[in-house]
């Protein structure tokens, strides 16, 4: 600061001196003034002279002393130079240079104000007026038209710049008024003829021409404001350089802050090289590893290493011993663990047993032989148990527990007891059921005998009779059974009896019918009487009871087993497939009604069988189930018998029957033969096949079909009605004007007057409005169309924005912006990344440094980021479509 001040002071003095010049060139007052300022003149002038002619300057040493001191740091090497040289030397034109060097803000006014103050402090009282005058004089050149008042005013503003107190060099007023004022010319005169005089004169003249009146320094606040303004402008200018960078970043669809930094050593080698031992162990290792000797040995060759590697015999022995010990320990440990592995808990064994059982049962399911064996085994066990009654609670243990009381026992014992009781209960139940099944199996086995052995027609009738008998018996049983409850009531009994009778009648009539359709042939009844189920059931039961017809039943068993494994359909198929040829003949013989029923029964039976099959688990439970089935569901079995008998009937040899068939019946059979061979099964089950097929069937036309299909309902009328309803709903019909009934005499008046006219008018206008609205509807002229004009409902309302979102100016642009989907399903993989890229890509854990300046060419096409692609950013796109292309930029950070 001090330096600059000095400079400026120097500068100021120079200016002052220069300002003298015009006065010298001018005549009169102005010239006088210049002279009056004489005392200061030498100072300034001396400098000039000093520069040009140092010898002259030498004379007034003392005056220049401070000046010299000032000059010292400005022009350091001037002093050191010999005078002759400095004389020629014009290279240091200090004033000019300074002028260029100084920045704008170092204004003259600023610093010279110090001088002003000085002047004021020192010589204000005396020299005030003179100075003002002088200033006036200076300004004359500038503003000749100014009045005295104006001048006075101006004077107040003008700051006096007089650095020296009154003295002989700073003359008073009378001196100034006097004629004998000095001019620069006068002072220069003595130099005339000397070396450099002409030069000096020329310079002075030039200065005179150039100089302008000096401005008075401004008040401090104003000055400061100006300074600040200048500084602000400057700093604004500085900040401007950031504009392109910021603009680019703002416009970029994505800015990246995740530049791949060097996050440390990447290779194993670098990591290893930077490893420093920290723990004791590591240090020890390091001391061994980086032992000088070892390192040297490594560097040279292996021989030294070998030397170093020598181990003493004792050490080796020790080592071997240790190893042996470890081995033996390991071996023992292994043995022990093996032993432990073999010891197993009770639960383990129980579970194992269960698993084994399960596996067995599974096997039995798969393999008939195994299952048979299993069944035998179970039967044996059952028998054994029945004999010993082991689980009845007669054991010593159980008795003791009973004695002590069950409540006292712990949970485990109680559970065991319960289990035993359960087992016993199961066993007893089994015994009962076994008895039943035994009888039934006997029955059925008898049946079976008959069934298989006799294949004549009588068999059928026999069966029929048997069935009848059984039904009757059942009915009787039914009569007998209910002895208590609702069914035991007399009227219920009656009703039951009646029902039974009805059933019987029905049955008989049905049988007759059969007889008729079968051409009076008693054989036709056969199918309903025969039961395949017997054939199936028998083997199971017989096997269980070890009945004598085991050989045969084995066959059947195999059959039924395979059946029970399968689903409903396969069963039917296999069965039907088996008897297909027979069936055809048979079916022809049977009336459709019968067949239908038959097939239904069939299905039922299959279903039952199937359920049985699925329930049937090998093992004790399975047999139990089967036996239950045998005993408890007698009626069901009977049904099944009926059905299966039917199926079985088909098994009977076809040729025999076909012979007896009528000619008339045979024809359709042939038809059937033609088309049904392959697809008969499914149809058989459904009973569709039985519908009599028409030989010549023509497809009706589409229209006809539709008419037939919709014969009953009047679609058009309905549509009309719905349309009307909708119309009424959307444009409701105006209500008819109604009067509130009056009372007393008002009723009469009301009646007379009728509906008031305004109501009528209102009503009419509303009606008209409605009609117009109806006419204006989009579907007014479309007879078969309803176009709803309801206000959009709330749900669809959610799919619209209430107003256009902010950056967008038109609806189209907004819609365009959300037109293209973003997802990976709708875009190729190469596009998805670019479409979904967020605005700021950063990595957590990466420090983001503030922006750093870099030159940006606003017009250059930035080379895209490696991940670049099109990013559809709405607000940008709406503004400028072209801009949003590949504007990917990478932020440079410090």
């Amino acid at each position: 600061m001090a330096e600059t001040k000095r400079k400026t002071r120097d500068d100021g003095s120079r200016q002052r001196s220069s300002s003298k010049k015009p006065k010298t060139s001018k005549k009169g007052k102005s010239a006088d003034k210049a002279e009056r300022r004489g005392p200061r003149l030498p100072n300034a002038l001396r400098k000039e002279l000093d520069r040009l002619n140092p010898r002259t300057a030498d004379s007034d040493e003392e005056i220049g002393s401070d000046e010299e001191a000032l000059g010292q740091d400005l022009y350091e090497y001037e002093e050191g130079l010999p005078e002759e040289e400095s004389k020629k030397n014009r290279r240091f034109d200090p004033v000019d240079n300074l002028d260029y060097e100084l920045p704008e803000d170092f204004e003259d006014e600023n610093v010279s104000s110090d001088d002003d103050n000085e002047a004021r402090n020192g010589g204000e009282s005396e020299a005030d007026d003179e100075v003002k005058e002088e200033n006036d004089g200076r300004r004359i050149g500038e503003m000749p038209t100014q009045t005295v008042e104006g001048r006075r005013k101006k004077m107040n503003n003008v700051v006096v710049s007089e650095a020296y107190p009154e003295s002989e060099y700073n003359p008073t007023r009378d001196m100034l008024e006097g004629e004998g004022a000095l001019s620069i010319g006068d002072l220069l005169d003595p130099l005339q003829g000397k070396h450099g005089y002409s030069k000096l004169k020329k310079r002075v003249r030039i200065l005179d021409k150039k100089s302008t009146p000096i401005q008075a320094p401004l008040p401090k606040p104003v000055q400061q404001r100006l300074e600040r303004n200048a500084a602000y402008d400057k700093s604004k200018e500085e900040l401007r350089k950031w504009e392109p960078i910021v603009k680019r970043n703002r416009e970029a669809p994505t800015i990246y802050f995740d530049d791949d930094r060097d996050l440390g050593p990447s290779s194993v080698g670098t990591i290893a090289s930077e490893f420093e031992p920290r723990t004791e162990f590591e240090k020890k290792m390091a001391s061994l590893l980086y032992d000088d000797e070892v390192m040297d040995a490594h560097r040279k060759d292996g021989s030294r290493l070998l030397e170093l590697n020598k181990v003493s015999a004792e050490d080796e022995k020790d080592r071997q011993n240790r190893i042996a010990k470890m081995r033996s320990l390991l071996f023992r440990h292994e043995l022990k663990s093996k032993h432990i592995k073999n010891i197993k808990s009770k639960t383990y064994h129980r579970l194992l047993k269960k698993d084994k059982l399960k596996a067995n049962s599974l096997q039995s399911q798969m393999d008939p032989e195994a299952s048979k064996e299993l069944a035998m085994k179970q039967e044996y066990e059952r028998a054994k148990e029945r004999m010993t009654l082991r689980h009845k609670g007669s054991s010593k243990w159980a008795k003791r527990i009973k004695e002590r009381g069950l409540d006292v026992q712990d949970d485990g014992t109680r559970a065991a007891i319960a289990e035993q009781q359960h087992l016993h209960a199961q066993l007893t139940r089994k015994m009962n059921s076994m008895k039943d099944s035994d009888t039934s199996s006997n029955d059925t086995s008898d049946d079976d005998d008959v069934d298989v052995n006799s294949d004549d027609e009588d068999r059928a009738s026999k069966l029929l009779e048997k069935a009848k008998e059984k039904t009757l018996k059942l009915l009787n049983e039914d009569n007998e059974v209910p002895n208590s409850g609702v069914l035991s009531l007399p009227f219920m009994n009656e009703a039951a009896a009646e029902e039974a009778k009805l059933a019987l009648q029905e049955y008989e009539s049905w049988a007759n019918q059969l007889g008729d359709s079968g051409g009076g042939n008693p054989k036709v009844g056969r199918p309903s009487g025969r039961m395949v189920f017997n054939g199936k059931d028998a083997p199971e039961s017989s096997k269980k009871t070890k009945s004598d017809n085991k050989n045969r039943s084995d066959n059947y068993y195999g059959d039924s087993d395979s059946d029970s494994e399968d689903d409903l359909e396969p069963i039917s198929i296999s069965q039907h497939g088996k008897y297909r040829s027979n069936e055809l003949m048979k079916d022809a013989n049977i009336s459709p009604v019968l067949l239908h029923e038959d097939s239904e029964n069939h299905k039922d039976s299959f279903f039952k069988q199937n359920t049985d099959g699925s329930v049937q688990d090998p093992g004790p439970q399975a047999t139990h189930e089967v036996s239950i089935f045998a005993s408890g569901t007698w009626r069901k079995m009977k049904n099944g018998n009926d059905a299966n008998a039917n199926a079985n009937a088909k098994k009977s040899p076809a040729p025999l029957q076909s012979v007896e068939l009528d000619q008339s019946v045979q024809e359709p059979v042939k038809d059937l033969d033609v088309d049904s061979d392959a697809d008969s099964e499914g149809q058989m089950v459904d009973g569709v096949l039985s519908a009599v097929p028409e030989p010549s069937y023509e497809l009706p036309s589409q229209e006809e079909l539709i008419r037939q299909a919709f014969a009953a309902d009047n679609v058009e009328d309905e549509f009309k009605k719905t349309k009307e309803d909708i119309l009424n709903e959307e444009n409701p019909e105006p209500e008819k004007p109604v009067l509130l009934p009056g009372w007393g005499q008002w009723t009469n008046i009301q009646k007379k007057k009728g509906i008031p006219s305004y109501m009528q008018i209102e009503h009419d206008s509303a009606k008209k409005k409605r009609e117009e609205a109806l006419k204006q509807r989009k579907d007014a002229n479309l007879k078969h169309v309803i176009i709803s004009e309801k206000p959009p409902n709330k749900k669809s309302q959610n799919l619209f924005t209430q107003s256009l979102p902010y950056p967008f100016t038109s609806k189209e642009v907004f819609e365009q912006s959300i037109r293209m989907p973003l997802g990976p399903e709708f875009n190729p993989a190469s596009m998805v990344g670019a479409l979904n890229r967020p605005e700021v890509v950063k990595k957590s854990g990466v420090i983001i440094k503030p922006i750093e300046f870099e030159e940006v060419n606003a017009y250059e096409k930035l080379e895209g980021h490696k991940k670049s692609g099109q990013k559809h950013k709405k607000n940008r796109k709406s503004k400028s479509n072209s801009n949003s292309g590949k504007n990917m930029t990478k932020l440079k950070t410090k």
Partner: protein, 452 residues
């Protein structure tokens, strides 16, 4: 006869390795996907809902101070370190990862009002009401040494006592200088016991000082005479001054846009300014219901965090009029200082309840390492949500926040007041001669004058 057969190249349909994903071929014809928009809308809705479900911004609290936290400073070189100063003169260095105090810097006699860290992260500068500026060497510590070091306290490098109490301090970017604000603005050097330079404009106390990180010679201050002043150190002069209707509590420069700064004002709003045009704010950020106490920009320059006297922390977009996020907890009291972490993914707030709180900058962000596919999924969700953000349902879900009751009520009250004011203005305008009453836009309304 020509027979058309489907032919496929084996190269495209075989996986090179067993881990490879099976390539799926798509037909991108929009005609066969008429529902794409509907699908994406639903996805956007779901994404918005998921965001709400996963929005758990509070990571943890750091307690240890025994008085209100007055200031914080982040270490620009060290991600997990943060310094906090409290009203009882305690300064602590925290490890954010473990949320523990690593070091303590005892010495201040009164409240610590300003903290700043040098750019290289070696020197911590603190100043306070005890008229002293202290420089501390930041001990370099790794996680390993944390447990071992028993003596956590650090001795100051230097202590410079000056004439007046200090209110704030900030360090210049990349240089050795720092500026303190108090009775005036003083520019200090690390190596000198007296300020290098003292800047003054007006006589009021300077409340906050901030250096411009992009243009390190620029300095912005706010003072208690409701002014915001700019200084240029190259010229050693103040450059511009702006007087607002209310005091500005804190100032922050945008690190990515060196001519923009945002001022946290006492009137519940933040004002973003272009430092070259101070006669109008570029954006007014409204939402707080009480004085905004502190503000800090995210290093990305795209958002900033504010802490307010209304006990909430909010995150704003740099150009958004309303906050993107509000954070609050039951126990958090008046927030006096906030900072964005250097990687822009966390926010730290210091409050009256002597705790520092660590928040996620994005409330529903999944922490930890993400698989590329996860990342893609998140990006897609974000993009879809962004696309349909204008639709009412999505907007509703995205904007919905549970607020503490007092804040909710205060918001409502503020809204009514503003609305009433607006109506009054409108009526006044309607009932007076046209042109006689002019209303300033909001961006200029609170600016009293710009001084030169």
């Amino acid at each position: 006869m020509k027979v058309k057969v489907i032919s496929r190249s084996t190269d495209e349909h075989t996986k090179e390795r067993s881990q490879d994903l099976q390539r799926v071929f798509h037909n991108y014809d929009p005609a066969i996907r008429p529902q794409e928009k509907a699908v994406e809308y639903v996805r956007a809705l779901n994404a918005a809902k998921l965001d709400k479900i996963f929005a758990k911004p509070f990571v943890g609290a750091m307690d240890g101070h025994i008085d209100a936290i007055s200031c914080m400073a982040k270490n620009m070189n060290h991600l997990v370190g943060i310094f906090s100063g409290s009203m009882d003169g305690d300064i602590r260095h925290w490890d954010i990862a473990s949320r523990r105090t690593v070091h303590q810097f005892p010495g201040h006699q009164g409240a610590v009002r300003g903290l700043a860290v040098s750019t290289d992260g070696r020197v911590l500068v603190s100043c306070g009401t005890d008229c002293s500026v202290r420089l501390w060497a930041v001990p370099i510590s790794t996680a390993m040494e944390l447990d071992v070091s028993s003596d956590k306290s650090v001795e100051p490098l230097e202590t410079y006592v000056w004439k007046n109490a200090f209110r704030s301090v900030d360090h210049q970017w990349n240089f050795d200088r720092f500026a303190t604000g108090g009775a005036g603005v003083d520019i200090w050097n690390h190596n000198r016991s007296a300020p290098e330079q003292s800047l003054e404009w007006g006589t009021d106390t300077v409340i906050s000082v901030r250096f411009n990180p992009g243009q390190p010679d620029l300095l912005a201050t706010s003072a208690s005479d409701r002014s915001i002043a700019l200084y240029d150190l190259r010229m050693g002069k103040p450059t511009a001054k702006l007087i607002m209707a209310t005091k500005t509590n804190s100032i922050c420069w945008n690190p990515m846009e060196p001519f923009n700064f945002t001022a946290a004002n006492e009137d519940c709003n933040c004002y973003s300014f272009d430092s070259r045009k101070l006669n109008a704010a570029t954006c007014v950020h409204k939402d707080h219901v009480s004085a905004v106490m502190d503000i800090d920009y995210s290093p990305t320059g795209r958002e900033f965090v504010t802490g307010s006297y209304d006990r909430t922390v909010r995150i704003f977009q740099y150009n958004g009029g309303h906050s993107r996020e509000i954070y609050h907890t039951k126990r958090m009291q008046r927030v006096f200082c906030v900072k964005f972490s250097c990687d822009a993914s966390y926010v730290i707030s210091g409050s009256d309840d002597t705790n520092l709180r660590l928040w996620k900058a994005k409330a529903s962000e999944q922490l930890g390492v993400l698989l590329p596919r996860e990342k893609k999924r998140h990006e897609y969700h974000e993009a879809v949500k962004n696309r349909y953000k204008h639709l009412p349902e999505v907007k509703r879900i995205v904007r919905h926040r549970h607020l503490p009751k007092p804040i909710y009520k205060a918001t409502g009250l503020r809204r009514t007041m503003i609305e009433a004011e607006r109506r009054r203005e409108e009526k006044r305008k309607a009932h007076s001669a046209p042109g006689s009453i002019t209303s300033k836009p909001l961006r200029q309304r609170r600016i009293v004058r710009v001084e030169e």
